[in-house]
Structures are given as structure tokens and as C-alpha cells.
């Protein structure tokens, strides 16, 4: 729909009713992954490698199988051979083959009549290892003499003579870098590093799987994408995806980490071996941290040139990111594409290396790659602003992208809202608050592409004139409410008269997961199309009754109306009246829509943070925090605000405290929340938000995805604020108290 057709004055869109799933969730009635149980169910446990890199010499399950209550053990030998590419890497990650590739890598699994017996049995499985040299640091892994993790991992892009752990090389750019830097008044370069962090979802991975000897199976699982679970588990197990029915549970957070599989094929494999008895498997927190996808760690160089008036003349980045032991997991491509997405710079260079390391296989984490890129680039922009005495928002406005600007990654932008977020941040009272001693203010902007993806939705009109909408995108952040609001708006019926169901794989065509900030955009767009089908049929039923042409009937305010005076004089026929008679007027009324929608407009955001740093301890207190982000149209403003605040909270944790800490032995030192320091309520201020609405022309209601952009600016915004407070520039994350204190002392 053209953007001119997007109008305001909605009845339901923009309101903030309670979420349909809210009561279930606060009363404990909602069923999460671990809440499913079946008669005759077994429980599974996993044997994991204690070594970062080791050849598996022998696995002996004799003692485990002799334990009363043990029903099955699976190892890699039970899985099919001959897989290639990502299917092979998924299988390797599910159960190690010849080598264990990181601390926590699964090597065997066992099913028993109770969880305790399964855990005891896992301890009785004897694994003989030949320990190999390991590497966990991204720069060390890139050295020519580093331990080789996956021989021959390099794809076509890697130049001859590269280090053996380099799996992929990317470069792109435009203009003339040398001329651009020569044109600048100041040219600076710096090195930045970030550590791996985990998505930190509160619900661990959990699944119940059942599979018979005939390969027919069912799975109940906590996931962002039931069709991906079906496809990936079937590939790993060599079974027919059409014979696996996957039902998603409610989900206690995902943030990208539940768009793939980790232990999920194991309950199915164990079930098949245990005569088809269902098997439940629930990860511990330590298993989640050791063996499910964190994001990548990064080593980044940035060079940038700026004129005295703030014009950026040229910029170059060199990013190195490790994504674990398998190719394709590091988000270095996305990081490069996001690096300068906020800026209109004529001369650009991007170079990136994906590197393998003895760490868990990375998964997507909220705007994958973009936060690291922003940390490096937005820190550098701030460094140049301070050196030249320029206001950071004015410099971003001067160089900021707008409609028609050629993006750093190639195409020209359509309608976007970066400038509007900068203007709103500048006008916000937070930007004018006077700061005291040891206090500082940081500003940063961020970007995410957003995504459409395969989508299938159906809508059925119920006999009482309400509507049932079936979608395939699990509800992580309130998408049931947003889709119900859009359905109510489209049909002209109350919000309460719409029920949105998240359905299993047998109920709809394929859906990609809830990822890429796509659920409200793509399922909402498909719902709108499906509703048009239902509306067309309802108009037809009214036309039949009135004995007029269906084209002479229009739909508004939840009823069929004659289109004009020439159509005849009839009282409007409401959805309730049409639905009550539908069995006698042609049968059930429904609509459906299947597509891979394009037009997912990108979202930009600008954050402003004030901090106070204790010069004695290096502790950073976040005094106030402002998120300004373009939502296109905020369907449910309270849940949009929640996404903004959630992104900021996770970004604050990443910036100040969170990190994967590996020992010299290559083992993860902090695999519990006591030591993996996520922010708690007392670490965070009230996070202020401003929802900018620059409608996306690619959506019937102007929606842009809002889930991911918010985690991008906090990393550099906090680094910039800490620099303003202390004079110390921290170019390494996390900026925890010891790091800040050391930087203050080094400054002198």
C-alpha cells in the first residue's frame, strides 16, 4: 500500500488493552516448555565434554545401560551420515562426532524413567578423550599457527594463504578512501573489542519429543520457530519433516537464541530408540550458558576522517568475529552492513573475517552484529566530536541518512526516520539536564534492517461474529495483542472479539520464526490480506441476501453496507448477522494469506544516557536513560515501549558487566547467573521512551519492526557517557568497575 494511503484516526490501533495471554501468564496457567508431560514419559540427560578441544577416542555406555530405569543411550553413531553444509554443522553441534569442539559440547544422551536416574546414568557413560590444543580468543584464532578447529573450513571468499581458522572473508565499499581521508581535518583510528554475551532468556530450552520406529513424531517445544525446529531436527535425524508435528509452547524469552536447535533433536532420537516412549529434556542454566548460542566476540578496527564542521569524509572498518567452531554462525556480514548504516559517507571500506574458535556455536542475538559494530563506530564518532568540540547530535544530523540517501551497504533508502529520532532526542528534557561532578552524557544511534520472511496466516469468522486468527509466529513480545488490534481495526469489531492462536506445524503453511523483528510486521500484513478475503466473502453473503451485485457492497464498522444510493436502500448487515447465518448461506467464512513479504522498513534509534562514575571504585551508575526509536506505527504503544526498554536493558548489561569468561583451560568460568552478571532491577533507572512514527510504506498500517534496534546504541552510548564523566575512553567491553577503574588510573 502506498504511504499516502496510510491514515491515522484508527479505532483500535494505538490503544493499549491488556494482552490476551496476560492472565494465563500471571496466574501460572500458561504452559511453557517444561510444563508439558505425557503418560509413560521418560526424562533425558546429556553428557557434555569437559574439554575445549578433544578427540573422542571411545564412548562406553555399558554401565549406564545396566542401571535400572535406563531405556536408551544415543551417540553420534545413532545419527545418519552424509550430511553437508549447515545440516552437518547442526548435527555436529547436536552430538559431537570425531572431536568435541568446545567446553560443554554434547557427546552422548541418555533417557531413563526419572530425571535423577538419567542424570546418574549420564555420569556412568565413560568417554575417553585425547585432549587437543584449543583457542577461544578471536585474534589468537586468526594466527597462522593457531590450533586448527575444522580443517578446510574456508569458503570461496577466503584469500589464499589465510589462517586456517578463517572461514569467510567479506569486503565491500565505495568511493576513494585515500582521497576521502586526505579531505578530512582530523583522521583517527582505534581498536575496539567486545566479549561474547548470552541472550539470557529466563526460560531454559525445554522439549518433549516422541518418535516411533516409523519416523512419525511429535514435539512440544519452547522455540521462536516451530517450522525451523521441524526442518532442522528432521535434517539432523534423517527423517521426513512432513511426519514431524511441532507445537510451540509459550516462550520465556528468545532474543534470537531460540531460532535454531541445540538439544532439540535428542528427545526424538532417544524416543525412537526407547520404543517410541516420549522423552522430556530440560536444560539447566549451566547447560544453556555452556552450550547454546551466545553472540560472537569481536575484534574491530575503525578509521574515520572528519572535517572541522563535522562532515565525515571517509571511514573504514576491519571486523573480526568468532562464531564458535562452525562456519556461518558469526554475524560479521550483518555487522559490516550495519556499521555505517546511519551515515551518508561518500568514501567507505568494509572488511570482515569470520573466524572459528573453541566456543559454543553462536546464535542470533537481537540485531545480530549491529551492537558490536555500533560500539566501534559510534565510539569513534564520539571521539572525533569531542576532539573537534562538536555536539554529537548535530554531527549525526549533519551526516545522517534520510529518504533517498544511498545506504552504506548499497541501495537507496525509502522513507526512514533517523533524523526524526535525532530531533526528538535533542528536544527531550533529558538532553538539557545539567550534570554534576563525575557525571557524563553519552549519545549514540543505531540501526536494524528488519525482515519479512515466509509467512502464512488464516482467519476464520466464528458463528457469533468474532474472529479467530491463526498465526505461526510465537508470541514473545506481545504480538498476539498487536495482531488482534490490527484484526479488530480491519474487520471493524472490538479487540476482545478477536482471538489470536499460535498454531502448530500441521495447521498452516510454512512460517519463519519470530525473528528479524518480523512478527507484527509480517503476520500482521498477512492477517490484513487474509481479512480482505473474509470481508469479500461477507460482502458477497450480504449481496446475496439483498439480491444485488457483490461489487455494490462495501465493508465498514464491522458491517456490510450498500456501496451507494444506486446499490439500493438496505440496513447494514453486521458481521454478527452474517456469521449467524453462514452455515445456511454458503458455509464457513474464512480468509488466508501466504507470502514472503518484502517492504520491512528499517528502524533507526537514538539513545541518550547519563551516568555517574565513582572514581574510587570505577562503578558506573546509570542516572537516566532515553530511548527514541522509529516504530513506523505503534500498534500497541505500551508493548512497543517494552521492546525499547528491554533492548536498552540488555544493552546496558552487555556494556557494563556481561561477558563469557574462559580460563586458560578453555572452560567457561561463569556458567551460572551468579557469575554471569546480568543487570537486575537495582542496576537500571526508569528508561524513558519516545516513540517516533514515520510510517513504513511497505505495510498496510505503516508498521516497522521494533524488537531489535534498541539493543544497538546502548554499548557506545555508555562508553561515550563514561568518557564524558571520567575522561577515560574504554575501547573494550565490558566496562565493569575494575576496567573503568584501571582506565581512570591509566589516564593519570
Amino acid at each position: 500500500m502506498a504511504k499516502d494511503e496510510i491514515t491515522k484516526g484508527y479505532t483500535w490501533i494505538g490503544t493499549t488493552p491488556d494482552r490476551p495471554d496476560g492472565l494465563d501468564k500471571v496466574t501460572g496457567r500458561a504452559r511453557y516448555g517444561a510444563d508439558f508431560s505425557l503418560p509413560n514419559m521418560l526424562h533425558g540427560a546429556v553428557v557434555r565434554s569437559p574439554h575445549a578441544h578433544a578427540r573422542i577416542v571411545k564412548i562406553d555406555a555399558t554401565k549406564a545401560l545396566a542401571l535400572t530405569g535406563v531405556k536408551a543411550v544415543v551417540t553420534r553413531a545413532d545419527l545418519p551420515t552424509g550430511l553437508t553444509g549447515e545440516d552437518l554443522y547442526l548435527q555436529e553441534n547436536t552430538l559431537a562426532g570425531e572431536k568435541a569442539l568446545y567446553d560443554g559440547h554434547a557427546v552422548a544422551a541418555v533417557a531413563a524413567t526419572t530425571a535423577l536416574i538419567a542424570q546418574d546414568a549420564a555420569k556412568l557413560i565413560e568417554v575417553e578423550y585425547e585432549v587437543l590444543p584449543h583457542v577461544t580468543d578471536v585474534d589468537e584464532a586468526m594466527k597462522p599457527d593457531a590450533p586448527v578447529i575444522l580443517p578446510g573450513c574456508a569458503d570461496h571468499s577466503v584469500p589464499e594463504g589465510s589462517a586456517p581458522n578463517v572461514a569467510r572473508y567479506i569486503d565491500f565499499g565505495r568511493g576513494d578512501l585515500d582521497a576521502g581521508f586526505a579531505e578530512a581535518d582530523v583522521v583517527r583510528s582505534a581498536h575496539y573489542t567486545t566479549e561474547a554475551t548470552h541472550q539470557g532468556y529466563i526460560e531454559p530450552h525445554a522439549a518433549v519429543g516422541q518418535m516411533g520406529a516409523d519416523g512419525k513424531g511429535e514435539m512440544w517445544v519452547c522455540t521462536q520457530g516451530q517450522w525451523y525446529i521441524r526442518k532442522m531436527c528432521s535434517a539432523v535425524l534423517g527423517t521426513d519433516p512432513a511426519q514431524l508435528r511441532v507445537t510451540p509452547s509459550e516462550i520465556g524469552g528468545g532474543f534470537g537464541g531460540k531460532t535454531t536447535i541445540f538439544m532439540e533433536p535428542l528427545p526424538l532420537a532417544l524416543s525412537k530408540k526407547a520404543g517410541g516412549r516420549p522423552v522430556k529434556m530440560v536444560m539447566t542454566r549451566a547447560e544453556v550458558l555452556r552450550a547454546t548460542g551466545p553472540t560472537a566476540s569481536a575484534s574491530m578496527d575503525v578509521k574515520m576522517g572528519m572535517k572541522k564542521d563535522g562532515t565525515i569524509t571517509a571511514a573504514r572498518v576491519d571486523f573480526r568475529m568468532q562464531g564458535g567452531p562452525f562456519p556461518g554462525a558469526s554475524p560479521v556480514g550483518e555487522a559490516l552492513s550495519c556499521a555505517f548504516a546511519c551515515y551518508d559517507i561518500p568514501n567507505l571500506g568494509h572488511h570482515g573475517w569470520e573466524v572459528l574458535a573453541n566456543r559454543p556455536k553462536c546464535a542470533a542475538y537481537r540485531a545480530p552484529g549491529s551492537p558490536m559494530a555500533a560500539y566501534a563506530v559510534e565510539s569513534m564518532v564520539d571521539e572525533l566530536c569531542r576532539e573537534l568540540g562538536l555536539d554529537p547530535i548535530e554531527v549525526r544530523l549533519k551526516n545522517g541518512v534520510k529518504e533517498g540517501t544511498r545506504a552504506s551497504f548499497g541501495p537507496k533508502y525509502k522513507r526512514i526516520g533517523l533524523v526524526e529520532t535525532l530531533e526528538a532526542a535533542k528536544a527531550h528534557p533529558n538532553y538539557a539536564v545539567e550534570l554534576g561532578p563525575n557525571q557524563g552524557r553519552g549519545v549514540a544511534s543505531g540501526f536494524w534492517f528488519n525482515h519479512g520472511g515466509e509467512t502464512s496466516v488464516s482467519m476464520a469468522i466464528t458463528e457469533d461474529g468474532t474472529a479467530q486468527v491463526s498465526v505461526g509466529t510465537p508470541d514473545i513480545g506481545g504480538s498476539r495483542a498487536s495482531i488482534a488490534l490490527m484484526a479488530a481495526e480491519t474487520l471493524g469489531i472490538p479487540y476482545e472479539n478477536v482471538r489470536v492462536n499460535i498454531v502448530e506445524t500441521g495447521a498452516l503453511g510454512v512460517n519463519e520464526p519470530t525473528h528479524g523483528s518480523r512478527a507484527t510486521f509480517a503476520s500482521g500484513k498477512a492477517m490484513w490480506e487474509a481479512a480482505q478475503g473474509a470481508i469479500k466473502e461477507m460482502c458477497k453473503r450480504a449481496a446475496q441476501k439483498w439480491d444485488i451485485d457483490p461489487e455494490a457492497v462495501t465493508w465498514k464498522d464491522g458491517a456490510a453496507h450498500p456501496a451507494g444510493e444506486n446499490a439500493g436502500k438496505f440496513e447494514p448487515m453486521t458481521i454478527k448477522e452474517i456469521a449467524a447465518e453462514m452455515g445456511k448461506t454458503g458455509g464457513p467464512i474464512s480468509g488466508h494469506h501466504e507470502s514472503t513479504p518484502s517492504g520491512a522498513g528499517p528502524s533507526f534509534g537514538t539513545h541518550v544516557v547519563d551516568v555517574e562514575v565513582d572514581p574510587e571504585t570505577g562503578h558506573t551508575k546509570v542516572l537516566r536513560y532515553l530511548v527514541v526509536q522509529d516504530a513506523g506505527t505503534a500498534i500497541h504503544p505500551a508493548y512497543v515501549e517494552g521492546q525499547y526498554q528491554g533492548g536498552a536493558a540488555q544493552g546496558i548489561g552487555w556494556a557494563l558487566n556481561e561477558a563469557y569468561i574462559y580460563g586458560q583451560d578453555g572452560r567457561l568460568q561463569n556458567p551460572i547467573f551468579l557469575d554471569y552478571r546480568m543487570p537486575v532491577a537495582s542496576d537500571l533507572p526508569m528508561i524513558d521512551t519516545v516513540i517516533v512514527e514515520v510510517p513504513n510504506p511497505g505495510h498496510p498500517f505503516g508498521v516497522r519492526g521494533v524488537g531489535e534496534t534498541g539493543i544497538t546504541p546502548p554499548l557506545p552510548a555508555l562508553a561515550n557517557a563514561i568518557h564524558a564523566a571520567t575522561g577515560a575512553r574504554l575501547r573494550k567491553l565490558p566496562m565493569n568497575p575494575p576496567a573503568v577503574l584501571a582506565a581512570i588510573r591509566a589516564k593519570g
Binding site: 569458503d155 570461496h156 571468499s157 572473508y169 567479506i170 569486503d171 565491500f172 565499499g173 541472550q199 532474543f255 534470537g256 537464541g257 531460532t259 554475524p331 556480514g333 550483518e334 559490516l336 552492513s337 542470533a364 542475538y365 537481537r366 540485531a367 545480530p368 551497504f409 548499497g410 541501495p411 537507496k412 533508502y413 525509502k414 536494524w448 534492517f449 528488519n450 525482515h451 519479512g452 520472511g453 515466509e454 525473528h515 528479524g516 523483528s517 518480523r518 514472503t596 518484502s598 517492504g599 520491512a600 511497505g698 524488537g707 531489535e708
Partner: protein
């Protein structure tokens, strides 16, 4: 003919050209024509790329129309969280 803009790392497969012309009316035809004219691009495209047509990223949309004057960019495949 449609002009397709490639990222610079792909130049080695196109005799140094960053912009190549192909005969195509859809995104799918653009990708097929690229592989036919420059077989070295085959593994890259088959591994997954995003295509932007007139500023719109159309991942997976092989049926999307492309006009002779469309601005077409081949991009790294983007995944989200």
C-alpha cells in the same frame, strides 16, 4: 538489460566488474542469469544472498519483478534475532 551491483568481494568472479548487466524480469531470473554468466557466483548465490530492488530487500522473493531501470543490489544475507 538490468544492471546488478555486486559487493566488491565478488569482483574476482566477474573479471573485476562491480556492476554487471543481465537480461531478467524477476529477481529469480537475475540470480539465474548471474550464475550463467559468471559461474563463480554460483556457490555465493546458492549459499544465500539478499537482493535489494529499488531500495527494498526482497530476501526469498524470486518472483519479485525487476524493471530494466530498477536499481538492483546483491547483498550479504541478513538474519535477525
Amino acid at each position: 538489460m538490468v544492471e546488478v551491483n555486486l559487493w566488491s568481494g565478488l569482483r574476482k568472479f566477474t573479471d573485476g566488474a562491480e556492476v554487471v548487466e543481465v537480461e531478467a524480469k524477476t529477481v529469480g531470473q537475475v540470480l539465474d542469469a548471474l550464475i550463467e554468466a559468471h559461474p563463480g557466483l554460483g556457490p555465493v548465490i546458492e549459499a544465500g544472498v539478499s537482493v535489494a530492488v529499488d531500495g527494498e530487500v526482497v530476501t526469498g522473493g524470486r518472483q519479485m519483478p525487476v524493471a530494466p531501470d530498477s536499481e538492483v543490489f546483491l547483498m550479504q544475507q541478513i538474519k535477525g534475532g
